[in-house]
Symmetry: C2
Subunit: 284 residues, 2 copies
């Protein structure tokens, strides 16, 4: 997906927020913010927005020596999701349509985002999850079920910490032996890494690999050769979240995207109203 | 007021919006957006945010040859405000506290902003005005009334088209012979110029001057010498809107600001919650 002019204010907002998360040093914050403005002024708009997001965090790691400032937040997100898991497992088990219910819950899990943290009670989150399930949705149930039934090698691209716990609901229903779960190779924002796949109890249950990249998305040329091989071998890619949509949309591969359209640029590209939960396939 | 990091995403948003308002030429839009990112990367954060806003519009006038792309929108805003005026005049006349009521209405008039346009009915706008009057407010009535009662030469700095019609309510109650109304010297955004003072029926009723500047605020060093003389001679400046607050806040002059805090940076600086209508004086 190309970068829209409308992504630019968002990059700058991300740079300011990330600078604040990484460092209390005002001069260092100013340095990174000025650098990002400079990059943006010369950027190639034909490239996906996640590239700048990743570059901001890469540079902040370099400037501050901090590798994972969101670790504590991610731990809280995983713990909160894990506390809810038994009740959601019951819901899936009781459902007449368990695979589809699990897929819908996995998308709804995307609402656990930075800033949600420990302030929410389990009840609050459960209510929000059900609100998300009742909210605007776009995606053909039958096409999705047909796609996952027919696939022998599914590569499942995780999105965020917390959310990855809910991905387990869907992976269990797809049968873990068909699935490889992929996480980011390096911490970036609250994106799920191997630590989160382990915290979610998934790393022992399904083959789990790192993608070798530090971008908040999946740009194949930035991923490891091993990951690219797996990507090419898979007959179905399930890609969670906006970052994976941004970077893989338009690529010639059998990808089904599952995400909540949280920004107007992505919503426009997906052809849905802002806030819609989306299931959409490259081959549909 | 200094520029905050939080102003930066907003500059870029302004640049994108302004580029779209000025030109349908995608290459020209890209040119200005890249330039603004470059300026921002090197800007002096000790200067007020309105400087970049003004520079964006100046450069767009230069690149496109268009001097006033918001003229039609401003005409609509004036016409809509004028249709409501008789009813608001009645409200002020019937009020037990007419000067203060007029001041509150003049601030509420700030809700007529770009994008409101002709889609709103008079009834909608009247309801929104009364909502604004009932909304969060911060400002000492007595200090304000004392200030305006004691002043002999009041310089009234207008903000936007449409809103300027409501300023007439307050100017009438202050007695027009004590007041000089100042408008921007050059069109910028939907800020009021001489055309709007005339459309509002004010230019013939109160002495009206241009400030000689093309900024969406009042930066004295950018204003004409004649305007600076008037500013120095006035014993009270009534400054409407955020742009005037940003540029005059902290200056050693007797200024009373009347505005709605529409952005978090200005709200923080004024010490009020976002969305609050504010009356605050430099000498209070």
């Amino acid at each position: 997906m190309q970068t829209s002019f409308d992504c630019l204010p968002c990059f700058i907002r991300q740079a300011v927020d990330a600078a604040r998360a990484f460092s209390a040093d005002e001069a260092l914050r100013e340095k990174i913010v000025r650098e990002v403005l400079g990059w943006a002024s010369e950027m190639d708009f034909s490239r996906p927005p996640a590239l700048i997001g990743g570059r901001i965090h890469r540079r902040l790691r370099e400037l501050t020596g901090r590798t994972d400032p969101y670790r504590e937040e991610k731990d809280l997100q995983n713990q909160m999701a894990l506390r809810l898991l038994p009740r959601l497992e019951e819901e899936v088990a009781a459902s007449a349509d368990p695979v589809w219910t699990a897929a819908r819950l996995a998308i709804a899990g995307n609402l656990i985002d930075l800033g949600v943290s420990g302030k929410f009670s389990e009840e609050d989150l459960l209510r929000d999850l059900h609100d998300a399930l009742d909210g605007p949705f776009a995606g053909p149930r039958e096409a999705f079920l047909k796609e996952v039934e027919g696939a022998e090698r599914i590569l499942y691209l995780a999105d965020n910490a917390g959310e990855i716990v809910f991905d387990g609901l869907l992976i269990d229903r797809l049968s873990p032996e068909r699935v490889t779960l992929a996480v980011r190779g390096t911490p970036v924002l609250n994106d799920a890494t191997l630590t989160d796949a382990e915290a979610a109890g998934l790393a022992g249950r399904v083959e789990t690999v790192e993608n070798g990249s530090d971008l908040p998305g999946t740009l194949l040329e930035e991923c490891s050769e091993e990951f690219r091989r797996r990507f090419a071998r898979a007959d179905l890619i399930l890609a969670k979240g906006q970052g994976n949509f941004e970077t893989l949309f338009g690529r010639d591969a059998n990808v089904v995207f599952l995400f909540k359209a949280k920004c107007s640029v992505v919503a426009r590209r997906a052809g849905v109203p802002l806030g819609t939960s989306v299931v959409t396939g490259t081959h549909w």
